[in-house]
């Protein structure tokens, strides 16, 4: 057995500990900004982790993952707008709507492979973008303000920053635990096998697309949860949140951290959003620095940050 103590695992443990203790730091220093920033980071990390399930483990390069953020968000927003404020209704609806969307989109786009799959998922996400832009009752392309966060019958108060942060963190850790169970299960083995060699998997008796589709739906549903969290975080949903650049950012987060590594997307998201935050303080052209950085990672660190840490571990 390999020792569980290596550079990579130590970094993961420290990051997890840091995320858990962040509200304490924020309370001690009175730095509220960092808590707000990290709430956002944790939510996007959940979205990136869900994308990693299909991209890293399933080999499905979805370029429309932001659509689920929007669908989950709009489910919360629209229900709130119509006077249904209970999270016990809003959130299941958000998950169900995302799952249904993933089922339909997946059934259609999984007939294709490679570049065509990327293009078709992108096209569907853009369709979702334009559909929400046309929802004039719900703000059209100006978006929809959510005046009251989801309520959970006194169980938890989402307007309380710390409570909300811990809810997000709970969802992130829960999501990662779920993905960890999935990738090691029979189902996960099949999905990874299909990524590795689809023809072989068909030849030994697996109906590849059926497994792919279920994986696609699971991923979309988890991302829908991130959407519900995000809408509550910003008190606002808008079509802009599902624009294709957002999908691209999610992909970058996954690639930064390391595709197909369980905790990689979390690290990737932290690095991406912190860099964005820091660089945008110096220049509005922060993307000019982010771009080459991504290029370097893709060229010289194939497994992303986790891949580099893994290499350290092996000495």
């Amino acid at each position: 057995m390999k020792s569980p103590i290596n550079v990579r695992n130590v970094v993961v443990a420290l990051v997890a500990l840091g995320l858990t203790l962040l509200p304490v730091y924020s309370a001690l220093t009175g730095n509220i900004f960092i808590l707000t920033l990290f709430t956002r980071i944790v939510i996007f990390a959940l979205a990136a982790a869900s994308l990693n399930l299909i991209m890293g483990y399933g080999g499905m390069m979805s370029f429309g993952h932001a659509a689920y953020l929007g669908i989950g968000g709009y489910a919360v927003g629209i229900l709130a707008f119509e006077g249904i404020g209970s999270g016990f209704i809003q959130w299941p609806v958000a998950l169900a709507a995302s799952a249904l969307y993933a089922l339909v989109i997946g059934a259609l786009s999984l007939r294709t492979r490679g570049v065509y799959f990327i293009m078709i998922t992108l096209a569907f996400a853009q369709m979702a973008y334009y559909v929400t832009s046309g929802l004039s009752r719900y703000g059209g392309d100006d978006g929809l303000t959510i005046y009251k966060r989801s309520t959970f019958g006194g169980l938890i108060d989402l307007s309380n920053r710390v409570q909300f942060y811990y809810l997000c963190l709970f969802c992130l850790f829960g999501g990662i635990y779920l993905i960890w169970r999935i990738i090691n299960s029979r189902f996960g083995m099949v999905v990874q096998g299909i990524r590795s060699n689809e023809q072989r998997m068909q030849a030994i008796g697996f109906h590849a697309n059926r497994y792919r589709l279920v994986c696609f739906v699971i991923s979309g549903t988890i991302c829908g949860l991130a959407g519900a969290l995000l809408a509550n975080n910003t008190d606002f949903v808008s079509p802009a949140g599902m624009y294709w650049t957002r999908s691209g950012e999610l992909m970058v987060m996954v690639v930064f951290g390391g595709m197909g590594s369980l905790f990689g997307p979390v690290i990737g998201t932290i690095v991406f959003l912190l860099l964005e935050e820091l660089l945008s303080q110096f220049t509005e052209y922060w993307a000019l620095i982010m771009g080459p950085l991504l290029l370097l990672i893709v060229l010289f660190a194939r497994g992303g940050i986790m891949g580099v840490l893994g290499r350290f571990s092996r000495g």
Binding site: S196, Q199, M201, G205, F206, H207, Y211
Partner: protein, 255 residues
């Protein structure tokens, strides 16, 4: 006709103007080892691909154990007990040898929509994998990733994967391709054992192996069957000599 494992009737498959399979008919009896030989480009792999469902014919019919499987997708044929090994090694490179075989066993052990329990800890799948690996002589290499196995080991693993699906019919597409002399001999010995348990269709270039193993031989040229019969009949068939054996005559004499 219960003793027929495989029946192919008037199979046609063309690519553009070329008929890779030209009105081909073939019977394989249960329990026999049926070799298919022919010069390069005779359409042997095309035939195997149609038998397993990776490629659909333009017309004709394929019966497997009496059942019409002509239009069944490959994963369903595998469920019925039809397994293949690939001419060009086709494994899961990021997985270990044991994982490759365990997945094949898993495919034939109920559905795989199980999301929670750890698959690598399911003892009966691991045992099945280990048994198949032992069979082909790879027991000690179980935990080695496929990408680190030698070519010969990968050929053996191909066979272990096929065996783990508990096939009734094994379609082997050039299992000896690229093997050295010792490795080839081991493969022949292995096939001699396997043929006692399972019907085998063997596509192979190694004439020595074919004549040593086969009950019956079918000769393909340009997608057509030009001769079919036991090794002696094929050896003495004039058309086969002309079309195919020719310069390899010396080999066939002591085969």
């Amino acid at each position: 006709m219960a003793d027929l494992m495989l029946r192919v009737e008037n199979l046609v498959r063309s690519f553009g103007g070329i008929k890779a399979t030209d009105n081909l008919s073939l019977d394989v009896a249960r329990g026999e080892l049926h070799a298919i030989i022919g010069p390069n480009g005779a359409g042997k792999t095309t035939l195997i691909s149609q038998l397993t469902g990776q490629l659909m014919p333009n017309s004709g019919a394929i019966y497997f154990a009496g059942r019409d499987v002509t239009w069944l997708p490959s994963y369903q044929r595998s469920r019925l007990g039809l397994a293949r090994s690939f001419q060009i090694t086709c494994l899961l490179p990021d997985f270990t040898a044991a994982d490759n075989v365990a997945l094949a066993a898993q495919a034939h052990d109920g559905h795989s929509f199980r999301f929670w329990g750890a698959a690598r800890k399911e003892k009966h799948l691991r045992d099945a994998a280990q048994a198949a690996l032992t069979r082909v002589g790879l027991a000690k290499r179980a935990d080695v990733p496929v990408s680190e196995l030698s070519h010969g080991e990968q050929r053996e693993l191909e066979l272990a994967v096929a065996l783990a699906t508990k096939p009734q019919l094994l379609l082997l597409d050039e299992p000896m391709a690229g093997l050295g002399v010792t490795e080839s001999a081991r493969m022949v010995a292995l096939l001699k054992e396997l043929r006692k348990e399972v019907t085998i269709v063997l596509v192979e270039h190694d004439m020595e192996a074919v004549f040593a193993l086969a009950d019956r031989i079918t000769v393909l040229v340009y997608g057509r069957v030009i001769a079919s019969g036991d090794p002696d009949a094929i050896r003495s068939n004039e058309e086969v000599k002309r079309a195919y054996l020719g310069e390899q005559h010396a080999v066939t004499r002591h085969g």
